[in-house]
Symmetry: C2
Subunit: 315 residues, 2 copies
């Protein structure tokens, strides 16, 4: 416990700006479960955020609740979106597989644990290998995805399309090979199979590639959302579903948990919906002018700092 | 003029249902400029609506204002969306090229007449041959479209992308070869070229193919709309832009003009926005339960009939 902590709490509707070394030290005292968005926080595309690796190492050393093994492992959760262990390894970011929570993983868990599809039922996937892997790991049968049959820019005709009556859900994530055939098939299932569920891994409008922003998973599912005229069940941020998945697995204490992210309308909203504290960094989507001045967002994080690298000052 | 005409007017917020032979005859007396949506009115995909050809012939015979040549030609306007003369010919529907107003045509006119891009400026196209032809005819320079370079499902990287600073607008229509490369390039122009306009030919959520509904032009532009977080300039129905284009060309009298369509939120709204009368047919998107009962739409056409074929009763 820390005497100064009272001053560190955010005033309602106003973020506390972190700057002094003691500010960062106090956050480490207060929170022992740290959840990170990755793109825009730890890295930008293929570029590490300056100091990110060092700070993660510092956090691992300082947070006494953290254990590498045993029942309380995973108190430090990394939460990713369509990114995988290889990305961490590639960038030299230390992370254990069971510390990584992706919206693809949460989606698979949602389908297997909440939807509980009967054995003969399956899902139609608009998405990439990562999503397929998670579905397979959770025992969810699927079609579509990276199936070469659907990887085509040839014109799609319903005349030769056979509706599979066992498709009980359409799951849509980021898919950089999305095309009219996939969208049309998904649309058929959603409109013609009674009760077919429309599920999206997350609603990110964009994602930061190493060389700039590109359309995100939310943009990939937008045609279906528009054609159907209805919103999907969204698993990832800002929906609470993924946090429920993490809670079920690691049993964190919301009062001692903080979510670190770069986006107000996904990461910060996600943390707030889950009743945990929130820290905004400015190395990703959100810029200074989004949080200050007359046009500032109504979504107010508890804390703001320029970069996760700022935590190096606690050394 | 017809003595019964008074009884034919729709009561505000209630459509007049046409059924007797005299109902149809009265409509012909009252309106001499007829605008038709095609998909869902004259045909459904590749299937003609029963009696459509016959009725168009009847209308051509009876409407005295109509001339095949001279200054008042084209009083009878057919207005299509991404369909072309060949479709009319293929189905045996008599129509002259200058009677066909497509949203692609109106889009090209909008760019050449309203935007008036400087000579060196061009547009980036997400769309098919029809849109390219209209742009070419209006002297609008473009890139993208059916260019084989963009017809790819390979992963797109910004690293090798060269932003063309002369792209001053992105134009998006129905494109069944839409892919991540096209969406990503369009997104770059819209976010990185200052003042770059976002224009869509129309906002149809779906279109009726011969074998069922498929995602429409509005669904193709939905990823950009979502990623940008802003609405495009929409040219086709329900926007008034296309009607302004037609008005500029044929100088119709709104009081003697009727729009026939199958969709409330595009065709009927389009007619109402343009101050012309509206007739809903039930051979397309809108069904009986959309216009009656407690969940009826707030968009109320002046007249309703089951099918354009009903006009055969005036023979």
């Amino acid at each position: 416990m820390n005497d100064c902590r009272g001053t560190l709490f955010a005033i309602p509707n106003m973020s506390r700006r972190l700057s002094a070394s003691s500010d960062y030290a106090q956050l480490l005292d207060k929170y022992d479960t740290w959840m990170f968005d990755c793109d825009g926080v730890l890295w930008q595309g293929d570029q590490l955020v300056d100091g990110a690796v060092e700070v993660l190492r510092l956090l691992r050393e300082r947070i006494t609740f953290f254990r590498e093994e045993g029942s309380v492992r995973n108190q430090q959760c990394h939460q990713v979106s369509e990114s995988y262990k290889t990305k961490f390894d590639h960038l030299g970011v230390e992370a254990h597989v069971d510390e990584i929570y992706g919206s693809a993983y949460a989606t698979a868990v949602y389908i297997s644990s909440v939807l509980k599809l009967p054995k003969e039922k399956k899902v139609y996937v608009i998405g990439m290998t990562g999503l397929e892997e998670e579905l397979r790991d959770e025992g969810v049968a699927y079609i579509g995805g990276t199936d070469p049959v659907d990887k085509t820019l040839e014109s799609f005709s319903l005349e030769h399309f056979e509706l599979d009556p066992n498709v009980a859900a359409v799951v849509c994530g980021l898919d950089t090979t999305v095309n009219y055939t996939k969208l049309s098939k998904a649309f058929q299932y959603l409109t013609r199979n009674p009760g077919c569920q429309f599920i999206v891994t997350n609603e990110d409008s964009t994602y930061p590639s190493g060389h700039g922003l590109l359309p995100g998973a939310g943009a990939i599912s937008a045609p279906l959302r528009y054609a159907l005229g209805k919103d999907p069940i969204s698993i990832g941020k800002p929906a609470k579903t993924m946090l429920d998945c993490i809670q079920a697995k690691v049993h964190y204490d919301p009062a001692r948990t903080i979510m670190v992210g770069d986006r107000l309308n996904t990461d910060i909203l996600f943390g707030q919906a889950g009743g945990v504290s929130t820290l905004l960094v400015l190395t990703g989507i959100t810029s200074e002018r989004d949080i200050t001045g007359p046009n500032a967002s109504v979504i107010v994080p508890d804390f703001v700092t320029t970069s996760i690298g700022d935590f190096r000052s606690i050394k």
